[in-house]
Assembly symmetry: C2
Homo-oligomer: 154 residues x 2
DNA sequence: TGGATTCACATTGTGCACAATTAAATTGCT
DNA sequence: AGCAATTTAATTGTGCACAATGTGAATCCA
C-alpha cells in the first residue's frame, strides 16, 4: 500500500482531478437536464445552436463540431436523435450537397426558455463562491488554448 | 448570431471549459499511453492497482471503483480486457464469493516501469509552469470534495 | 432458524468519444 | 475540359460511462 513513486500516485495526477471533477459536474447537470430530456452533450449542442441564432445562415455540422471540438462520428447520431425529438431539422445545402444545415424548430427554440433556468439552478446547488468559479473557468480556458496551440510533442 | 442570454453562452459555461479541457488533456495522453497499449481509463485503473501494492490484500473491484468513482458496469469489462492482456488476474475470494480480487501479474508490474515516464513526458510537452498546474489540481480536488459532500439539490 | 435485507459484482441497453474508412461533391491545377 | 486533391458528412468498430436490473452470497434479526 506504500506508494513508492510519487509521479504515479493517483492524487498527484492533474488529469485525474480533471477527469473526476468533470464527471461529478456532469452528474450534477443530469437531473436538471433530464427535465429537458437532454443529455449533457446534447445540451452543449443546443447551446451552440441557440447561440448561432436564427437570423443568418443555419449552422453546419462542422460549425458545431469546431465549437465543441467534436467530430461527425459523435455529432451525426446525436443530431439525428435531436431531430427525432423534433428539436431541429437537418437539410442538405442545395448548392453544395456536402454540407448539412441545422435549423432549430419551434420546439427547439421553446426549449431555450426552460434551459435558461439550468445554469442558475446548478450554481445554486453548488454553494461555491461565484468568483472562484469564474477564476477557474478562465484558467481552464487559458490552458485549453495553450494545449490547442502547441504540438503534441514527446 | 447575437447572443441574447449571457447565462446560456457557451463560453460562459464552466462546465464546457472543464469538458473541453478534459478531452484535450486525454488526447495528449493518448499517444503516450498507446505505447503501453493502454487507454486512459485503463491507465487510471493501473495507477490504482500499482498504488495499492502487492504486499497486503489484493484490491477488490469496489476498491478501484471507490477510488476512481466508477461502477462495476464500467469496470467489469475494462478489467476483463486488462486480464485478457495478461496484466492481472480476477479471482473470487474463497470465504466470500461476492468479492473479486484483482492481482497484478508480472507483466502488470513490469508495465509500471514504462509508465513512470508518462507523467514527465506529458508535463514536458505541455510547456506550462508546474506551479500553475499544482494550483489548478488543488482547486479541482477541492471542488470535487465540495461537490461530493453536498446534496445534489435543485 | 428462516426470511428479508443488504452487499458485490455481472449483465443489458443507451449514448457518447474517437479512430479509420468511405462516399460524394467541390475545388484547383494544367 | 479533365483529373487529382480537398472538403464535408456518414459509417463502422472499439471502448468507456452510467442507469437499471439480475444473481448469488452474506448478514440481520425477530
Amino acid at each position: 500500500m506504500v506508494q513508492q513513486d510519487p509521479a504515479l500516485a493517483l492524487d498527484n495526477q492533474i488529469c485525474f482531478a480533471l477527469y473526476a471533477l468533470n464527471r461529478a459536474v456532469t452528474a450534477r447537470y443530469r437531473p436538471l437536464l433530464a427535465e429537458l430530456e437532454l443529455t449533457y452533450p446534447q445540451y452543449l449542442v443546443m447551446l451552440v445552436l441557440w447561440e448561432h441564432g436564427g437570423d443568418g445562415e443555419p449552422a453546419r455540422v462542422s460549425d458545431v463540431g469546431a465549437r465543441l471540438r467534436l467530430d461527425s462520428g459523435t455529432l451525426t447520431p446525436l443530431l439525428k436523435r435531436l431531430q427525432a425529438r423534433g428539436l431541429l431539422t437537418r437539410q442538405r445545402q442545395a448548392n453544395d450537397e456536402r454540407v448539412v444545415r441545422l435549423v432549430l424548430t419551434e420546439a427547439g427554440w421553446q426549449l431555450r426558455t426552460l434551459a435558461r433556468q439550468v445554469p442558475g439552478r446548478l450554481i445554486c446547488g453548488l454553494d461555491v463562491e461565484p468568483q472562484r468559479l469564474i477564476a477557474l473557468k478562465q484558467e481552464l480556458r487559458s490552458l485549453l488554448v495553450t494545449l490547442e496551440n502547441s504540438e503534441p510533442s514527446a
